[in-house]
Amino acid sequence: MKSKIYIAGFVVLLMAVSCTNLDETLYDTIETKDFGKNPVEVERMVGAAYSYLRGFQDEDGLNCFPTSELVYFLNLTTSDEACIPTRGSDWFDGGRYQRAQRHEWQTTDAPILSAWKYAYHGITRINAIMFEVSLTELEESTKETIYSELRGLRAYYYYLLLDWFGNVPIITEFGQENVPNSSRLEVFDFVESELLDVKGDLYDGVAYGRFSQNVAHTLLARLYVNAEVFTGTQRWQDCIDMCERVIGYSLEPNYFTSFLTENQVSNEIIFAIPYDHNEQTVGNFMNSMSLHYNQNQAYPGPFQWSANGMSAQPGVYSKFDENDVRRNAMKEGPQFIYGTSNLIQTPDGDLVYTEEISNFENAKQYEGVRLYKYEVRDDEQWERDHDFVVMRYAEVLMMQAECYVRLGYPESARPFITQVRERAGLEVPQDITLAFLDNEYLKEFLFEGIRRNVNIRFGTWFEPWWEKGSTPQYRGIFPIPQAELELNPNLTQNPEY
């Protein structure tokens, strides 16, 4: 009987000593509250803000990358320099690119949501990082310096929102719920005051891929050159003042130096988003989106398949002077199998890129000239290694030229224009007019993503062009994406959408 009691006791004991501790034991991930304990950890938290510039793919598989998704599908297709024709069943995608071309986009169109998500993803992550930094034990002054750089970067995202959507919520702190829209004027004032406030704390030299004082000045110049569009008030002189503060850069003698795979060597690039597929960067595949499927046959190495999408809008290629070196940013004409004089074949016939596109809704596979601006190597991968150029010095020159013309001093514009034109191998015309500048912007910044902005500023946006009729004034900004309206009850749709 005694042994039974012992054994019974043992069983009870076994149950009692057994664990009831239910705290999580973490191994391969770290709780937010346990991180940021030393300066290096803080640096890595802050550094993450730069990685967000490359965008992301959301959990629904929606690509929110700044290169092809935003620049191509939104800024380029809606502008007068490019289009994505439907070819058979390819690139129909529910009609979204046809609507973009015709300025008939809907509030549910994916590229619009991509743009919104890209910007707010960056903003909220920056807010979260600032919140996490505030919890660390760093010196207050050190924290302020970190905040300044992060606020500058945040202002860049707000600039994008100001341009795309106009009236957006201004969220400056992590965890703010259901913030209503601010007016476009308020957003403009916010971007301006943030940049003016932080720029003194920013790095004042030439630093590649970092939000420096030069980047802040260039961004302010962009803000002022578009001030009339954004606010109704002209700020041409302010733009010139900011441009003059951008120091330490010059035009590269070769136009294409800024678009090399190793384009960090360019002394012209003010701000770029660095990429290197060996470092697992994702989202940089603009050329891949443009060249024909079989273009890889033109290369000796194992060259990646391309997607045969984006083309220059008909009429763009022929705008270029034959001697304009910048025309080489496009691929036109016959394409040969590597090492032979045999034409690459497509199901529609020989691969000869033509400027004309016979039918926007069912184009031949070979129609449309293609993007060829960034260097294309023989063994190119889908993910490209060149950095994506966001701001370069030519734009600072062009903005100054434009502002002088706008202020009525076209001759003061000449030295700036001369630099740009000479590098392209061209003369400067007698009369420097706005129409001339409009064309020059197209040629200099082809496929770089600023054309939509220029179209709106010069008013051509609202006029008919290829496969597009007149655009009503309210479509000068995009609608707030429907999905976001549903998530935040305090959001108001932009007028007339």
Binding site: K4, I7, L14, M15, M45, G175
Partner: protein, 971 residues
């Protein structure tokens, strides 16, 4: 027991000097001198002799089998009992003594199905007689499980249990079937039932070899499953293996099967392609001069074999059982196969005057296989076989090999040579499963037993791949690409409980109280490298590659714990009124800080109406009528992954370019939002059941149930303005399953030597998404069934997740509902015959009313396909108004089917001298035909889960039609 002791004593007394010999020879040899020779005949109740009836001397393994005239002869000690048994007859005991009249005339009576009521059923932490059950538990015994080629253990349950749907979405020997009991209960998590093997919950069912399974009990309703609390919401499958069969036995079972693809797509042959090109005068068509049937090029006749040896010696106070098995399962696609070697060993010993029982066991198996090449579809995360799309795309005039004997390569998209793809890659996957346990049972007081069960499980999966430098895909090559990965999950579990059984007069009570602790670990690592200067090393020397990139090396580990307290009380009055109540409290480390503990109660009542006096009038034909009513709450804790309630940072994931050092460095970034309210999904279920037995011929069960799952987890989109990550896992939604099930078991014929049994099941289940939003988290109709990655269908969603609809609801581009992927009815019809020494069985199952989107046909109907790519023969008959790039009712087909799963014919040989006691040979034909209107390869498409329920995704591994020859030998 007493007999053995007496005999032993006698023997030891008489033959002390021969003790050594005793160990060598069998005991019986020394008892012969006082035995008498018994002769006799075994007959049935109509007087016909029974050939092959088995006679065994009780307490020994000695015995014989009747000859073709029913005669036998056997030497027996007087005063012993002879056990006589024959399939489908009630076993009989005959006491033999000096006065027994010889020759014996033993009359056997056909067994009757009402005996079911005394069958012991596993109920979780114990067993009960079927007659005492209050909850819904369906059972199937080992001899009625599926025969033939079993690639994955759960397949033995296919078409056996009403409400348990076992769907095999193709013929890949490395892929298991998906199990669903009474519909799915979750949107985001697994809806797999909990598998309990010999009392150990959470075992991978494939640890167990099918031939080791003696019975399977399925706890269907919440009142039965509630004892498993937060692990029980999807039902519980209790597997009992071959451990308690008394006596000494050696058994061999083996089979060999020959299989071929049962069906293929009807594509154009080269000559048909040429005729069409000629007729249409398509000048641009390129004829490559070959004559290739690309499907045939990759298909083969598969040969599968399986061998299993088991032996056991189980006595009253100790025993062991050992088994070893080997299987080589070939797929019908070249190179695809799965080899498995497994072994199992268990032993028990009693002590403390039989009050203590100790048992240990170890079961392990090792698989290795060649996985077919597959790719992850960008943007969806789904795996797809690489070859099928290319098999269908390639023009039939393209020869497999070019004039130089190399694989032909054609320029273009998705037209890589599938034979090359299947041949140029080296790949080997290996998996080791292990289950070890130690069990202690101690009778503390009469009726009071304490049990402690310690178990450890391991599932370790290694994978190796090498793509040689000459492998090119879509024009891209990595110049050699090698990968090695290891993923390992382990668990430790302690279960300790006390049971008390007491019968007093007409009262019977059974009490249970226990505690359980479970800890799971998941860890792994992997590495890949590229750019190899030599193909020699394959995946054996990753460091020889010259192209290591950031992110090519990784590892991970996570863990979670579950702590449970549980109790159950059963009361039965006079075998007429029964009540059960259970309560379980579960705490999990995975739940959020505010919701660490959950409570899972249940209660059920049963009334044996046929036991009442007023039913005397019907007792002649209505042997049993029992009404059951149950209610309970169960949970699905597996819906919550480890750490998901916490806000976390990720490292080593993304890099940024550091302007100061001009190098790339890893950033730390938020990977997850916090949700301290995160908890299990909870399922309430009401079940009403009626058991009946009629005319000593038919037993049946009718059940009606309603399940409501609340706190459904879904990954909600949260405003990017408030959360660092744009999704948050939250308990919001609600879904319901309502259904009715019918099970009928009939002994249609029981005369002379012929028996005919029929099992029939019918189940209807209606799954409805009731709610997806609440005040905090909203989601609209969620697009689902993403066809991304299929040519021409990128960005097209074919389904919608919507309140009031079911999972897998098809919609067209304008939102019109086109039906859904859930079957209205699951049915099965199994028959068992025996005639003298012959036995035969037939198994059919089917699903009715479900729809399948034939995305395969959509892609193969693409308007630009012909003549550059191959097409279906009916390509040119596509109606004008049907678009191949839009989901419409043309493509959403009715996929109702009825499959003749197997037909078996067996013959049992009488004992052959000393060679063997019993031998059965059989032949099984599998997947003999399918009745369906579905136009694709096979209508049985997986309809579970959220990813692609009911979508035929250009990815169907053909299911084999197989012929199996097998033998079971008992020595």
């Amino acid at each position: 027991m007493k007999f053995i002791q007496q005999t032993l004593t006698k023997v030891i007394y008489r033959h002390v000097c021969l003790i050594l010999a005793l160990l060598v020879y069998s005991l019986n040899a020394y008892a012969q001198d006082s035995e008498i020779n018994v002769t006799g005949t075994v007959i049935d109740n109509e007087g016909y002799p029974l050939a092959g009836a088995s006679l065994v001397i009780e307490g020994t393994t000695r015995g014989t089998v009747t000859d073709s005239d029913g005669n036998f002869t056997l030497d027996i000690l007087p005063g012993t009992v002879l056990q006589v048994s024959f399939i489908s007859f009630e076993s009989k005991q005959v006491l033999i003594n000096e006065n027994t009249n010889l020759p014996l005339r033993i009359t056997m009576v056909h067994d009757v199905l009402t005996l079911n009521e005394t069958v012991i059923v596993a109920v979780g932490y114990g067993t009960m007689r079927r007659g005492d059950l209050t909850g819904s538990i369906a059972s199937v015994s080992g001899d009625k499980l599926r025969e033939g080629v079993i690639t994955s253990t759960e397949q033995i349950l296919q078409g056996r249990i009403a409400g348990l749907s076992v769907v095999q979405g193709g013929g890949d020997p490395t892929k298991g079937a998906s199990l669903r009991l009474r519909g799915g209960t979750s949107l985001t998590a697994s809806s797999d039932p909990l598998v309990v093997v010999d009392g150990i919950p959470g075992v991978d069912i494939n640890t167990i070899h099918p031939s080791d399974v003696v019975s399977v009990d399925v706890l269907k309703d919440a009142s039965a499953a509630a004892i498993y609390g937060s692990r029980g919401a999807n039902g519980v499958i209790i597997v009992t293996t071959n451990r308690e069969v008394k006596g000494k036995a050696v058994n061999y079972s083996g089979s060999i099967s020959i299989g071929q693809a049962a069906n293929q797509l009807d594509l154009l042959s080269a000559n048909q392609w040429r005729a069409r090109v000629r007729d249409e005068n398509i000048v641009s068509a390129v004829d490559y001069g070959g004559n290739t049937n690309w499907q045939e090029e990759l298909l083969r006749t598969s040969i599968t074999q399986s061998h299993n040896v088991a032996f056991s010696n189980i006595g009253e106070d100790s025993g062991f059982r050992a088994s070893i098995n080997y299987m080589d399962n070939q797929g019908v696609i070249e190179r695809s196969n799965l080899e498995r070697i497994g072994a199992s060993l268990s032993a028990f010993q009693k002590g403390l005057n039989n009050k203590l029982r100790l048992e240990v066991g170890l079961t392990t198996n090792y698989d290795q296989w060649h996985p077919l090449r597959s790719e992850t579809v960008a943007g969806t995360g789904n795996e797809r076989y690489t070859m099928f799309e290319r098999i269908y795309n390639l023009n039939p005039t393209v020869p497999v090999y070019d004039s130089e004997g190399k694989f032909t390569r054609v320029a273009g998209t998705l037209v890589d040579n599938p034979v090359e793809i299947n041949n140029n890659r080296s790949a080997k996957d290996k998996r080791n499963r292990l289950l070890a346990y130690a069990k202690t049972e101690l009778e503390l007081l009469p009726g009071l037993t304490s049990t402690t069960n310690l178990s450890f499980g391991l599932n370790s999966h290694k994978s190796n791949q090498y793509l040689p430098s000459y492998a090119v895909m879509g024009g891209e090559s990595e110049n050699g690409w090698a990968q090695k990965t290891l993923a390992e999950s382990t668990y430790k579990q302690i279960e300790s409980f006390v049971t008390y059984d007491h019968t007093y007069d007409v009262h019977r009570i059974n009490l249970l109280g226990g505690y359980s602790f479970l800890e799971n670990f998941y860890e792994g690592f992997g590495a890949h490298n590229r750019n190899f200067d030599s193909d020699f090393f394959k995946y054996h020397r990753l460091q020889a590659g010259q192209g290591l990139r950031s992110g090519d090396v990784y590892s991970y580990k996570s863990a979670n714990r579950l702590v449970s307290f549980f109790g159950r009380a059963n009361y039965s009055y006079d075998g007429k009124y029964m009540a059960t109540a259970t309560l379980r409290r579960d705490g999990s480390s995975r739940f959020g800080a505010n919701e660490k503990w959950g409570l899972f109660p249940s209660g059920s009542l049963a009334w044996r109406i046929s036991g009442e006096n007023f039913m005397d009038a019907t007792s002649a034909w209505l042997e049993n009528l029992k009404l059951r009513l149950g209610y309970g709450v169960t949970g699905n804790q597996d819906a919550v992954p480890s750490y998901r309630s916490l806000a976390t940072y990720d490292a080593g994931n993304i890099k940024y370019y550091d302007a100061t050092s001009q190098t790339w460095v890893f950033a730390f970034s938020p990977s997850q939002n916090a949700n301290p309210d995160l908890k299990w999904e909870s399922t309430e279920q009401i079940n009403i059941g009626l058991d009946f037995a009629l005319f000593r011929r038919v037993t049946g069960v009718v059940e009606v149930y309603q399940k409501t799952t609340k706190d459904l987890l879904y990954n909600y989109q949260v405003p990017a303005t408030q959360y660092p990550v744009d999704r948050l896992l939250a308990n919001v939604g609600e879904l319901s399953n309502k259904g009715i099930e019918l099970t009928l078991n009939a002994a249609i014929l029981r005369n002379r030597s012929l028996t005919w049994d029929v099992d029939f099941t019918l189940a209807h289940n209606q799954l409805t998404i009731e709610k997806l939003s609440n005040d905090t988290y909203q989601t609209d109709d969620v697009p689902a069934g993403n066809l991304h990655g299929l040519p021409g269908l990128s960005g097209i969603y074919s389904q919608v997740l919507k309140e009031g609809q079911t999972i897998g609801t098809f919609v067209d581009g304008t939102g019109n509902i086109l039906g859904d992927a859930q079957p209205d009815l699951n049915l099965s019809l199994n028959m068992y015959f025996s005639y003298r020494n012959f036995d035969a069985s037939l198994a059919t199952y089917g699903m009715l009313g479900q729809k399948v989107l034939n995305a395969t046909a959509m892609v193969l109907s693409g308007s630009e396909r012909f003549p550059s790519q191959n097409v279906l023969k009916n390509y040119f008959d596509l109606p004008q108004d049907v678009s191949s790039t839009e989901v419409s009712d043309y493509w959403v087909e009715d996929a109702s089917f009825l499959r003749l799963q197997s037909v078996t014919l067996g013959y049992t040989l009488p004992a052959l001298g000393d060679w063997f006691e019993r031998a059965r040979v059989y032949v099984t034909g599998e997947n003999l035909f399918v009745l369906t209107n579905y136009s694709g390869i096979d209508p049985e498409i997986n309809y579970t889960g959220l990813d692609h329920p009911g979508i035929d995704m250009l990815n169907y591994y053909p299911r084999p039609r197989a012929l199996t020859f097998g033998v079971n030998l008992t020595f």
